[in-house]
């Protein structure tokens, strides 16, 4: 025996593992006005999505060398920024229109579940894990992102001087990873409102991606664990709906080595911001190691950087 004789569990790191599919496929995203436009809009939406679902599935199978990939599908409903209708009215409609297009929604999530799920402040936790990409010349003295609420991909234009200072020439911002020319982006992560923070849409979407990648934990325990479909139908209040519902009992696991998100091209800017955020999150070591190790063992190793595990299809909206 070579291990230590004496151990204390509270002194050891521990990260519970979660089941992982090969691909988590998101079947489009809609704003409340799309739901308000009625079932026809939903029908057109899913008919378009169906085309790209087939392509994404074929791509996942190709990566596995023809083996059958485990693919779970999901759909996220926005109940954080605006609320429309009730789960009892809306969800059956969504499921019916998806089914008409030949699609199955395995997991259904509420967007507010990305802010707080089962009393765990997911967005807050991810905020604590942001590690900013340092522009050249950073030697350990930057104010943390937690103080500013903004995250950029480079160096901002220097702020306006006080009245006493001389007028200085405008200086351009600079993208740290620029190839000759910059594409500078600065993302607002939250705003303050009565009663706390209002997380921005890209930030919640980044949390959503991390959940789908199986990289979120709380004290080493899994979070946003799928719950079974309520037996007596869907509730009449969004708050009574679990943050993540498993609608297909036999579905492959919700989280996966990779994600593919199918969305209309109006979401391009938001999703670019999501990648900017994902590229600056120091995710749970244990969870990262588990995904690395298991995907390699299955012969389909994940890309090293987290943001590279996330892919998209942007389509023209119907």
């Amino acid at each position: 025996m070579t291990g230590p004789v004496f151990r204390e569990t509270a002194a050891e790191p521990r990260t519970q593992s979660v089941p992982l599919s090969h691909l988590s496929l998101e079947l489009g995203h809609l704003y409340m006005e799309d739901f308000a436009a009625g079932p026809e809009r939903l029908r057109e939406h899913f008919a378009e999505v169906r085309i790209w679902v087939d392509a994404a599935k074929a791509s996942a199978a190709r990566r596995l060398g023809g083996r059958r990939p485990r693919i779970s599908t999901c759909f996220l409903i926005d109940d954080y920024f605006t609320r429309f209708s009730t789960p009892a009215e809306l969800i059956p409609q969504v499921l019916a229109e998806a089914e008409r297009a030949g699609l199955t929604i395995d997991y259904l999530a509420r967007e507010s579940g990305c802010a707080v799920a089962d009393k765990v402040e997911l967005a807050e936790s991810v905020m604590h894990r942001l590690v900013e990409s340092p522009p050249p010349g950073t030697y350990g003295s930057r104010p943390p992102v937690g103080e500013t609420g903004w995250l950029a991909n480079g160096q901002r234009t220097p702020g306006a001087r006080t009245a006493m200072a001389e007028v200085t020439e405008w200086q351009p911002p600079h993208e740290t990873a620029a190839r000759v020319h910059s594409v500078f982006m600065d993302v607002e992560l939250w705003s303050e409102r009565d009663g706390g923070r209002l997380w921005s849409c890209p930030f919640l979407a980044a949390v959503w991606q991390l959940a789908r990648l199986g990289l979120l934990r709380h004290g080493g325990e899994p979070v946003l664990v799928p719950r079974a479909r309520p037996t007596g139908g869907f509730p009449h209040d969004w708050d009574e709906l679990p943050p993540l519902l498993q609608l297909t009992a036999s579905a492959p696991p919700f989280s996966a080595y990779r994600t593919c998100t199918l969305v209309g091209n109006r979401f391009l800017a938001v999703e670019d911001a999501v990648r900017l955020i994902l590229d600056q999150v120091d995710v749970d070591d244990g969870a990262l190691a588990q995904a690395d190790e298991r995907s390699a063992r299955e012969g389909a190793p994940v890309p090293e950087a987290v943001a590279q595990r996330v892919t998209y299809v942007f389509y023209e909206e119907p």
Partner: protein
């Protein structure tokens, strides 16, 4: 440091760090629950708390991104990019330490890679080109250089953040000074075990330690060893100063007792070298026990304090007897 399935990760040849050690500014020592609250640097990650053989709490590592020249002794400019890890530890709810540390391979690419590449190698810096190892070791152990990587600043800012914590009432039970311990661990020759090359006590509370460790030694384990050195060096420094200030022999009675009592209340039980030091590094303590003899000095100090308190108690006893 963190276990990870990596095949492409470069092998570090050097690890460096700086430890700050100070008395926790709280009237009462913290129990394990409050210690965990204090060191909870992230909402979703547990603080590791251990109660054997003494009370010890260790925060998760937090990262700081850097892209700057490394300090060098000969003015050589070498840029490095990556993350510096920082962590905090509280021993017996009384002595607070923060460490900033990194590890670095012998060479790196001449371009900066996407940030996600660095984030999956927490606590690792990558040099642009070849690492001038010896010059960096000398540079890190010296005072900080303008614009170059500043481990002290990273350790200090974590310490400052913790010292502002609302759990602390800012009532120190006695006066003490902070110490800084800078360390550099180069790779030991193949087949050789870990060794300690020097331990230098300088003025202004600065200590520098040079080590050699075998390939594959976890940087967190080296950081842990150096925290253990720093903790015990701080205890010696603090108690020596306390005895100095008590003006042993020249003041009488209650005054001398008042000056020495904090050592009994807060410090004497904290002494426990290598309580949690990695098995493969623990023997490095033997070197310091041999020369200068840390524990030998400590035992002498403890004996002096106990003798002083006994001597001061005699007149009180006389008085009590005379009154009866």
């Amino acid at each position: 440091m963190r276990p990870r399935a990596e095949t492409t990760a470069p092998v570090p040849v050097l690890a460096c760090g700086e430890v700050r050690t100070c008395l926790l500014p709280a009237f009462q020592a913290l129990d394990s629950r409050t210690a965990a609250q204090l060191l909870r640097l992230r909402a979703d990650e547990r603080v590791r708390v251990s109660e054997r053989p003494n009370l010890y709490a260790l925060s998760p590592d937090v990262l700081t991104g850097v892209d700057c020249p490394l300090p060098t002794a000969n003015g050589a400019r070498v840029r490095a990019v990556g993350t510096v890890a920082a962590r905090a530890a509280l021993t017996e709810g009384r002595v607070l330490q923060t460490t900033a540390y990194f590890r670095i391979p012998a060479t790196g690419p001449d371009v900066r890679r996407p940030w996600g590449h660095y984030l999956v190698r927490p606590g690792m810096l990558e040099p642009f080109g070849k690492l001038p190892e010896q010059a960096v070791v000398e540079g890190v152990l010296r005072d900080s250089q303008r614009g170059a990587l500043d481990l002290g600043m990273i350790a200090e800012s974590l310490l400052a953040q913790l010292l502002r914590h609302p759990l602390l009432d800012q009532k120190v039970p006695f006066k003490s000074r902070r110490t800084h311990l800078r360390w550099a661990a180069m790779r030991a020759p193949d087949g050789a075990g870990a060794s300690i090359e020097s331990f230098v006590v300088s003025e202004e509370g600065l200590r520098t330690v040079r080590l050699r460790v075998p390939e594959g030694t976890e940087t967190a384990a080296v950081a842990g060893l150096c925290e253990d050195f720093a903790l015990h060096d701080w205890l010696l420094t603090t108690v020596v100063r306390m005895l100095d200030r008590s003006r042993t022999g020249s003041v009488d009675g209650p005054e001398a007792i008042l000056a020495l009592r904090p050592a009994v209340d807060h410090l004497l039980h904290v002494w426990m070298p290598r309580a949690r030091v990695d098995r493969d590094l623990g023997h490095l303590w033997d070197v310091l026990e041999q020369e200068p003899g840390f524990t030998r000095q400590w035992q002498t100090l403890v004996q002096r304090i106990r003798d002083q308190l006994a001597v001061q108690a005699i007149p009180l006893l006389h008085k009590a007897l005379a009154m009866s």
